[in-house]
Symmetry: C2
Subunit: 440 residues, 2 copies
Amino acid sequence: MDAAEFRKSGKQMVDYIADYLEKIDKRQVFPDVEPGYLRPLIPDCAPQDPESFDDVFKDIEKIIMPGVTHWHSPYFFAYFPSTSSFPALLADMLCGGIGCVGFSWAASPACTELETVMMDWLGKMINLPEEFLAEKGGQGGGVIQGSASEATLISLLAARTKTIRRVQSEKPELTEADIMGRLVAYASDQFCATLGTTPCCSFDKLFDLGPICNKKSFWMHIDAAYAGSAFICPEFRHLLNGVEFADSFMFNPHKWLLVNFDCSAMWVKKRSDITSVFKLEPLYLQHQHQDSGLVTDYRHWQIPLGRRFRSLKLWFVLRMYGVRGLQEHIRKHIRLSHQFEDLVLQDERFEICAEVVLGLVCFRLKGSNELNKELLKSINEAKKIHLVPCHLREKFVLRFAICSRVVETTHVEFAWQHISQLATDLLKAWEQNHHQQHQQ
Amino acid sequence: MDAAEFRKSGKQMVDYIADYLEKIDKRQVFPDVEPGYLRPLIPDCAPQDPESFDDVFKDIEKIIMPGVTHWHSPYFFAYFPSTSSFPALLADMLCGGIGCVGFSWAASPACTELETVMMDWLGKMINLPEEFLAEKGGQGGGVIQGSASEATLISLLAARTKTIRRVQSEKPELTEADIMGRLVAYASDQFCATLGTTPCCSFDKLFDLGPICNKKSFWMHIDAAYAGSAFICPEFRHLLNGVEFADSFMFNPHKWLLVNFDCSAMWVKKRSDITSVFKLEPLYLQHQHQDSGLVTDYRHWQIPLGRRFRSLKLWFVLRMYGVRGLQEHIRKHIRLSHQFEDLVLQDERFEICAEVVLGLVCFRLKGSNELNKELLKSINEAKKIHLVPCHLREKFVLRFAICSRVVETTHVEFAWQHISQLATDLLKAWEQNHHQQHQQ
């Protein structure tokens, strides 16, 4: 395939994606396929000779789409949002076209420098303390990781190295293994200090935890993977108060800020805490500018060596939505979650299981876990909407997460009517069943 | 931006990418910018109100391109290739459009199943022992990681867990920390068992290492990040002989197999060796099919939870090039490296520093490291081509790596004439300098 063919097929793909996203509400949100569906549909090895784009293109609807869970459907209320937006798609196309691997400043200066500045933009949008920013020649700064797990791992490794070095300087007789065996990582039953947990979007109390961590020289990492995006709205920023105690902080713009996966934003107060753990300088990665003090080599901030030009997504999205556009998106989602909460509260058969702070509603039928498991089963088997459950203090709970960029009041109302009807059917069946058992 | 606007701007972006790649040889391969160039060119915070796509689009040439190192230029001979191809760009567009997060089978069955089958296709293309494949219900299988470093880390963690469990079962009196302190990871001076090292593309002797590892129950991980792609050609497959001793094996299709970054292919003989290290089953990630035995939940195979639909890139590339098309690509690169090697050998001032096996030529001027550092400096300051150096046994060596998909004989000849001329100028200056010093 040459550039001329790419012009043609690329435009075909643009139209396909636009069609897909424009009419995504017409597709069943969860697929009908059973495990193992795909292998029999395709050959068991790669072709020797090239196939045409048209052949491959036809197979998208035939082979791929039947097995896709449509995360961007307005009927998708599972997990947490994984956002998508047209500006981010455009930026990702450009990222692929440039195709640089920005492990060092020299490997593509624009890739590194845009990332540093975008992380400052983003930090300012959530009013992060200045110590976390790079702009004024401070010791802090931000980096885009691939996932929240990577950010957690980096923090753990940095914390471990820092603690081992401190203890070794105090007690030189201890070996690294001696110290390692005694290290402790504190976490709650929902995982680090978390703002917006996955099961129920609860918030740890930073003002209780922070001073203890600082006093005891514990590394404090705050994970606000989902909730962080909401902090761009002044009315939710208070949830981040106490971040000033943290050593590292992260949230996922790819969850809720209309930046396509993957884009995990992580900031540290002291860059050297993480770069000193990972620094590796083989000659082929050295370049003349690296000791100038002005240069960031992001390979020292992460597990992988290579990295894509992900900051383009942030740049496109922040500019083409503007802060106000993104605030509107967040506020719409939170409005919809409260709308759903109200619908649940008006129905005496149901209960709300955790405070609705952002875009997640945890709810259940009053009654047994078995009953709620049956309800979820009937919801997901009907495949008109898609939800996942969680456990909250031994209770089986249904999670209703506002996810899609295009979800509106009508979809939430439809979802509630559907759940409510399934609950009616289920309760009737249970009652009959109970009645029959009683008669026997 | 709505779907209609995306149709328009997406097509504009397709043309921009096609133009960029079609005329990439007209751009200076390495940028002129100095560290810190970008920040003054853009505002210091995100705009409150949306900007138009046209405004953002104009800034690509104004702000981004002046700072890009053009990895796909036919004058780029640095590091190792990071491939790019039009079929892979198309697949990445689709991946973004679908935007699913395939951490479990249920999160998007197509995403998981295509990956498993593509890893079998790829494994068969390099004639990997059947134990590493998933297709016949065996214990092995493949996964796409983000980078070779992640694959190494996963192997290390799996090896550590497996060894600790084994030692604990033999000596229950030892704590995990006791055992951890005594664990050893063996590596050569070029990093695990490696096929195609980064400095000079050398190969470890698997037939020497393998039997020892197996006898001693050492985990053997083989990293063929760059070289692995060449094994699709029967004439280079012998370099992989001995892989049958390994527990895990990986190579990067994103390096040399025309699949855009990121796509690191990793296989294990025993899936349970890695899934048992990472398995985590919160309720919101459980689904009804997971215990069927037919289902792969790839989150247990990797550090991150989320993952993109990267197998689409493999599917598009393997089908639209065919095995023969990819073999041609590999063979062209290797032919060009030997062409460059011949040019070096014909010039008595130069020497070849390591056997040229694949697409990398390590060479230097006969003489001091200082002289060669000066030569590299003059090459990279002229910015007509781009190279990076390495150290081989105390010697400062220049690496000439065949990288671009569109590099041809003419570019290699140009590069050599350019290097040769710079060497002539340099040697003349050194001689004059020496002569002057002698006279003083």
